[in-house]
């Protein structure tokens, strides 16, 4: 087991109108797994990812990665851990407006003070791979939402993280870009054994995973393992969504 989440919970707000975003949640993720986390909006997906990735501290419980209890670490060490081992694709992109595309993408490498040649190499490789070479010198506010998401993905992947956290990575992408990104995620998952935790409410996106956990109101509702056939897996996911939400609770992707 690479990631062990033990009985974590998180509340927001004050006593009276507190929101129990995550309630006594446990989860185990194997090395090299491509885990999907599904649930309707407000189910607690983002909160869960944030806690596993140490961006937020849980109120209770533990998050153990490679035998290390991250909740016990100091903020500073958490940041270091995050920087060295994790990559993030945030739902809100979290790109830096002051920097241009290139600088945004290479930021994780620059932060680690990698050498210049490696930075250029990796950058060119990522841009080519994601088919966005022409965006290199653009400013962030000159990009469409979809382009921003791709750039955010490029940044997350550029330093080959051991664990990749992706929060609705295809939410703003057209089907072609989404397929490219998902294929690449699958690729690094298989080749580099990168563990991926991806939150999504989209069945097509989820069908790339090796396992999908369904959460609702902050608790695990059920989970399905990919039988090895994506179409079949997709069917299973759709069915599960129907079971949970009674039909159109979830967006069913049109591009399957």
């Amino acid at each position: 087991m690479q990631i062990v989440v033990k009985n974590i919970s998180k509340d927001f707000g004050k006593k009276k109108n507190a929101v129990h975003a995550i309630k006594d949640f446990s989860l185990k993720v194997d090395h090299g797994e491509f885990l999907g986390i599904m649930g309707p909006s407000g189910a607690g997906k983002t909160t869960l990812l944030n806690m596993i990735s140490t961006n937020e501290r849980p109120d209770h419980g533990q998050v153990i990665i490679d035998g290390l209890d991250l909740t016990k670490l100091h903020d500073r060490d958490q940041a270091k851990y995050r920087r060295n081992k994790m990559g993030f694709i945030y739902q809100s992109f979290e790109l830096l407006d002051s920097l241009n595309v290139k600088e945004n993408v290479i930021l994780p490498l620059a932060l680690n003070r990698s050498n210049k040649k490696l930075i250029e190499e990796r950058f060119n490789y990522m841009m080519k791979l994601l088919n966005v070479e022409n965006l290199s010198d653009r400013a962030i506010d000159e990009l469409s939402l979809g382009q921003r998401q791709i750039i955010a993905a490029a940044r997350a992947l550029i330093n080959n993280p051991e664990i990749l956290f992706a929060d609705e990575p295809t939410g703003s992408l057209d089907s072609k870009s989404a397929t490219i990104l998902l294929n690449y995620m699958q690729l690094i998952n298989q080749r580099e054994k990168t563990t991926i935790l991806m939150a999504t409410h989209d069945a097509f996106t989820a069908s790339y995973c090796s396992r999908v956990v369904f959460i609702k109101d902050g608790v695990v509702f059920s989970e399905i393992v990919n039988p090895g056939d994506r179409d079949k897996f997709f069917e299973q996911i759709i069915n599960m969504q129907r079971t949970i939400g009674g039909g159109n609770y979830f967006n069913v992707s049109e591009n399957n």
């Binding site: 940041a79 920087r83 407006d97 002051s98 600088e103 290479i106 620059a110 932060l111 003070r113 210049k116």
Partner: protein
């Protein structure tokens, strides 16, 4: 709901509002206290010395003239109010600007414009009201303290009674109402403009082709100003007859002001830009972000930094002027009024009698015989031939006087001559010597050193004085002989009012009428006693008879203290204003700028590194203006302290200013970091 919106935006920016409110209430407090001192009865009676104008000596006759010290205090409060208003209007705009996006969103959500404008109106009004409440509280708390402080620095022992009249309260209320209304209306107008313009973030054009040459030119200007300052140190003493120093000062001012702006505009961003272009530098660690971030912040704040720089330089220059002015006046005073009480042979008897009656404790008693003779010489300073009576004193007698009498003069030995004359300029003492002075029926004095410090005080003489070797003195003839007497007391001469009135009859002991003929030896002096005074008749010289300088000393000390009080108050106020402007400027980041810091944290940048960015930002914002201001203020030292060494006191004054200023930087940094950190934990 509107109440909620106002409440939320007030609490969102509470740190910044707190600084603004504190700065405003400080200003209101100072203004209110100055105003209230103006009609404070206990102060009025404590300052009775200043009541009578028209007579040179405060103790003669209590006129009904207004008390001009209090008039000054009131005028100062007016000036202060004006600048405070400018500050409040200007800085109040920061907050509206900060809410720009919010207001635009409200409008998009369909809120009618007038509601948004009303919200901004009331928001401003609430903040102003808070500032006034605190300010008035400060007035009540600190009025006594400030009044006592004023009396203390003026060295008046008097109990300061707190006094707040109803008319004063009414005035303050009117000012409060008016200023709050004014500021709220101005901010409402600002909101209207935001809503009408609607354009989002205006992109800053980089225009390197303009910035780089402009920056270099600015650097050249600043450098040339420094070179010019070096010349000014040499040229300043020629100010009385040459226009060169004025031209230089003028050039330095222009070069400094524009040079600084150009450097801020062009040079500093270019440096950051170059650093950012050097990959090995910028692609390492957080630099990739921080260079760009700094550049962006610099672009946004160029004019403010420039403004603060120039005002700081101005403040430092004013402090320098005040310091040297004070020192010059002090020295001048010190050299002109050496004994607390002085008399001549005609008045000594009466005065001694009165002193006995007044039970004065005499600390020191001196007397010196002098000879008065006619002289003529060519005065280099005035570039004319001068003929006048001159008072002569022997070297030994001169040396026997208390040390403070000759401290300010050039040193002479028993064979040299020393001419003591009035100093034509307060600031600059000309260390030239005088040559070829003809004395009636005595040998020509070829060279005489020059001094300004009159034994027995300048007013006891009608012309310059000459210290001559004992031998020369013994042999020289005298048109008139006289003896000067001087006393020092423990705790003053204690002469009562009636005694002084009596003594006044003995003022102007005698008048000398000089009949200048074609040559000195033919000219004659006629002494007339108890003559009705015909002032300004040519060739008449009046001998004062006695001089009560202790009182002048008191007046001088009080005036000096008052002056320091006002200067200090204004300097501190200016410092508070500048510091708080910068602090607010640093803290009121655009939304997206603080979001970026949060983003950095999310992708694994340690908090300490983000703190580093904040620190660098604050350092840059605060250090730049003070450094450039110090460079510029150096010129003022050249102007007011030419030729002399950098005195310790002026360094202390500067250091004090810098320390206080840096304190603001530190506070600003703390608040900045707090604000950023709060957003991290959302």
């Amino acid at each position: 709901m509107y109440r909620k919106i106002i409440k939320r935006s007030l609490s969102n920016m509470r740190d910044s509002y707190l600084i603004y409110i504190l700065a405003c209430s400080f200003a209101i407090g100072v203004f209110g206290i100055l105003l209230s001192l103006g009609d404070n009865p206990s102060l009025r009676s404590a300052l009775h010395l200043w009541q009578a104008e028209g007579s040179e000596f405060g103790d003669i006759g209590y006129g009904m003239g207004s008390n001009w010290i209090l008039d000054i205090v009131e005028t100062m409060s007016g000036i202060f109010a004006f600048f405070a208003a400018v500050y409040m209007i200007y800085v109040g705009g920061f907050f509206i600007k900060q809410q720009r996006n919010e207001f635009l969103t409200f409008e998009k959500l369909g809120m009618p414009q007038y509601v948004i404008v009303t919200i901004s109106f009331f928001q401003t009004a609430i903040v102003q009201a808070l500032a006034w409440v605190l300010g008035i509280l400060a007035i009540f708390i600190f009025q006594k303290f400030m009044g006592m402080l004023l009396l203390y620095v003026m060295r008046i022992r008097f109990d300061f009674g707190m006094h707040i009249s109803t008319s004063y309260i009414w005035t303050m209320l009117k000012i409060f109402g008016f200023s709050t209304l004014l500021l709220s209306v101005i901010n409402a107008f600002r909101t209207i403009r935001i809503l009408q313009k609607r354009k989002r973030k205006t992109l800053i054009k980089t225009r390197w082709w303009l910035r780089i040459p402009a920056g270099l030119f600015g650097l050249v200007l600043l450098f040339s100003a420094q070179v010019c300052t070096a010349f000014l140190f040499y040229d300043m003493h020629t100010i009385s007859y040459s226009s060169k120093p004025i031209t230089e000062v003028f050039y330095i001012m222009l070069a400094d002001i524009f040079g600084t702006y150009l450097v801020y505009y062009g040079f500093l961003p270019s440096i950051l830009n170059i650093m950012q272009k050097i990959r090995s530098l910028s692609y390492s660690g957080l630099n990739i972000f921080s260079f760009k971030y700094m550049k962006e912040r610099l672009f946004q704040n160029i004019s403010i930094l420039w403004f603060v720089t120039e005002l700081s330089a101005l403040a430092l220059a004013l402090l320098t002027l005040c310091y040297f002015g004070y020192r010059a006046v002090y020295q001048n005073y010190d050299t002109s009024y050496p004994f607390e009480l002085a008399a001549n042979k005609d008045t000594v008897k009466v005065i001694k009698g009165e002193l006995k009656k007044s039970d004065a404790k005499i600390k020191g008693e001196y007397k010196t015989a002098v000879k008065i003779n006619l002289v003529s010489y060519y005065s280099k300073e005035n570039q004319t031939y001068v003929r006048q009576p001159m008072t002569f004193m022997s070297y030994t007698d001169y040396k026997e006087l208390p040390k403070r009498m000759h401290k300010g003069n050039s040193k002479i030995n028993s064979k040299q001559f020393l001419k003591i004359d009035y100093n034509s300029s307060l600031m600059y003492s000309n260390k030239l010597s005088e040559h070829d002075i003809e004395v009636k029926n005595a040998p020509l004095i070829q060279t005489a050193k020059i001094g300004n410090s009159f034994p027995y005080g300048s007013s006891m003489h009608f012309g310059p004085m000459m210290i001559v070797p004992d031998n020369y003195y013994k042999k020289m003839p005298a048109e008139v002989t006289d003896t000067f007497y001087g006393w020092d007391f423990k705790k003053g001469d204690r002469l009562s009012h009636t005694q002084l009135e009596k003594l006044d009859n003995h003022r102007n002991a005698y008048v000398m009428k000089v009949d200048f003929a074609s040559s000195l030896s033919k000219s004659t002096v006629e002494v007339m006693k108890n003559q009705p005074l015909k002032k300004y008749e040519t060739g008449t010289y009046t001998q004062a008879g006695f001089l009560r300088q202790g009182n002048l000393k008191k007046r001088f000390k009080q005036g000096g203290g008052f002056y320091l009080y006002i200067v200090a108050l204004f300097s501190v106020a200016l410092l508070v204003a500048l510091g708080s402007v910068l602090t607010l400027r640093v803290n009121l980041r655009d939304d997206y700028q603080s979001r970026q810091l949060r983003t950095l944290q999310k992708i694994g940048v340690e908090e300490s590194e983000i703190k580093g960015i904040i620190r660098r930002e604050n350092t840059l914002t605060f250090l730049l203006p003070i450094i450039f201001a110090l460079i510029q203020a150096y010129t003022s030292i050249a102007m007011f302290d030419f030729g002399r060494h950098l005195s310790k006191n002026i360094i202390l004054i500067y250091a004090g200013y810098v320390v206080l200023y840096c304190l603001f930087g530190l506070i600003s940094y703390r608040i900045s970091w707090r604000g950023v950190r709060q957003k991290f934990n959302l």
